[in-house]
Symmetry: C2
Subunit: 342 residues, 2 copies
DNA sequence: TTGAAAGCGCTAACAA
DNA sequence: TTGTTAGCGCTTTCAA
């Protein structure tokens, strides 16, 4: 293994000291009044010798890694995949790389990944939090490490976050359904204490009230978290059978519930929107096309990611540690899955 | 900032030397014949003092990071998203984290990301390569760094890889279409020198020949790489218009071409499969459901990811450096997008 | 069975 | 304007 060239090698070759080389390589020549000639010489040598700084040594000294840690539920989910892509794009623009972990909404894993990332000294963290990681999260905040929560946050945790107005989003969905004459609206959501899901439920209830529609408990299905796709479809199918003929619309509160829900509905031979109006929180390929396209409450994924990186960077670069709370608005995209009831 | 506890702190507290602590913490007590009592004491102390090893220092000494670098085209793509998820799962099982970068099939970015990851001393690399990164890739291979290419590889590069039998996959698709009586089969692929795409084209041509069908150049559309979604749809739309009435089936060679293609077809008011049979290489949410579901040549994503990690680990752990070439088989999933022509 | 000390490559305080 | 040196936290050789 031919050892990489180090700052020392360059210094030797150039006949100057380590310091000089270090200064030049860090672009502080001007500041430190290193001569043009010297600077030039070192730079050229570094280039010729293919110098690449050793990030361990650098990190050991400076504590910085130029790396952002990203924790999401599941990188293969449409929402989080798109989010990760933008985060990576934005990070790349400013010379950062991204290390990602999926929490899988699994308590055990949640607990350890944040520690794992902290061990690796991320410069900042973008996290879709789970309850299980709260203790670690508190530690992070206490140490004033740059961190931004996304998708949801915890009231008891004084952190920066970028979320969306979930209540308004759900409300929009119900209002829309109601405006088309749908009066018996079912909800399919997750059994969870995550804020965004609770808020989506809340918006649904609020929407029903505002439109003077009855709130029927048996129209609300809360699926357990962490079910396999197959199980999820099965659960939703059962639910759909239990409310057959009693409802005229169903509202899914996330894209993966929507995908599973559609599978359930198709397998029951339901026609959308003839037999049932469908609306979904979150977008997905499947909803964009498909016949019919599914009307959705779409999240501004790009803005969420950009804002999160932006806040993170301001925390990383300024020593002053400002906590920011950003709540973005959702956007209804009308497609063909809602029937105009007569 | 309260400094983290170091090995030194523990040594001081325990009244022993650094060495002893290091040995114990690395689980080499037995081997080094450290007394039970000593071991116990150090371990307890480490736990109580919340010791977490400094990865920089460790890396600086050992050169290892317990991190895998993953380079894909686009993390938000269905195929790569799923792949990334499994890679992360597998890596997690063995105490590794994953750092990912999207090449975006962009030459400039391709060239730099591998260097970026190498700077960060990944223990191994899983890479969907692009032509632009060939020089870096060669360097990697020359240095015998653990690396596995996925999805495609380069003949001129003697590396480990995990791919699928693209020719056979395409052949299956064409055979299937032909068996249903489709005789005028168009192809929508990318303009690229990537092996997998060339092989899919090759399989298509082979399929036509085997079934004694004519090869019509104007039935083959090669879309430029890196088009935006909107542009892609537009291009495919134009193509579809140019072959309107002349074809009875179309074969898309990747999931994102398929998604764009469906959008194009829907916007032209085409009914699938009545107006046109459709088949696609690669799966996607959209194809699984949707009315009708799209018949696809599906890739064994899980196996690809698992195998890649497995090979990587064997390279990382054994000093002996074995290159492996794995070619997995695709799997036709019949859905409703192919018409039985009469 | 344990300890002392060197050194991984870099930065920064201090000296010249 | 440039050089010397300490030290970041860890592993490992060598010595005791």
């Amino acid at each position: 293994m031919p050892k990489n060239t180090s700052i020392k090698d360059i210094a030797a070759k150039a006949g100057v000291s380590l310091t000089t080389v270090s200064i030049v390589l860090n672009g502080r020549s001007k500041e430190m009044k290193i001569s043009e000639a010297m600077t030039e010489k070192v730079l050229k040598l570094a280039d010729k010798m293919q110098y690449r700084p050793n990030q361990f040594a650098k990190g050991l000294r400076t504590g910085r890694t130029n790396t952002i840690g990203l924790i999401v539920d599941d990188i293969s989910n449409y929402f989080f995949g798109c989010l990760a892509k933008i985060v990576e794009e934005e990070a790349d623009k400013i010379g950062y790389t991204v290390m990602f972990c999926s929490s899988e909404n699994n308590d055990g894993k949640s607990r350890q990944i944040l520690n794992m990332l902290m061990d690796k000294h991320m410069d900042g963290y973008i996290i879709a939090p789970t309850k299980a990681m709260l203790p670690e999260l508190e530690k992070l905040i206490r140490q004033e490490k740059p961190a931004v929560l996304i998708d949801r946050h915890y009231m008891e945790l004084d952190s920066s976050y970028v979320t969306i107005d979930n209540i308004k989003g759900s409300l929009d969905a119900v209002n829309y359904l109601a405006s088309k004459g749908n009066t018996r609206i079912a909800l399919v959501t997750n059994e969870t204490d995550q804020l965004q899901m609770q808020q989506r439920l809340e918006g649904y209830v609020l929407g029903l009230k505002k439109n003077h529609l009855p709130i029927v408990q048996s129209f609300i299905k809360k699926c357990a978290f962490g079910l396999s796709d197959v199980q999820l479809v099965k659960e939703i199918k059962q639910f759909m059978l239990s409310v057959e003929g009693k409802i005229d619309a169903v509202f899914f509160t996330s894209n993966n519930l929507g995908v599973a829900g559609l599978e359930a509905l198709y397998s029951l031979g339901k026609k959308i929107p003839e037999d049932l109006s469908v609306i979904c929180f979150d977008d997905n390929y499947l909803f964009r096309l498909g016949a019919p396209g599914i009307t959705v409450v779409s999240q501004p994924i790009k803005s969420i990611a950009k804002k999160a990186v932006e806040i993170l960077m301001s925390q990383i670069n300024q020593k002053q540690f400002k906590k920011e709370h950003v709540v973005l608005r959702t956007n209804m995209i009308e497609r063909g899955s809602v029937k105009e009831q007569v």
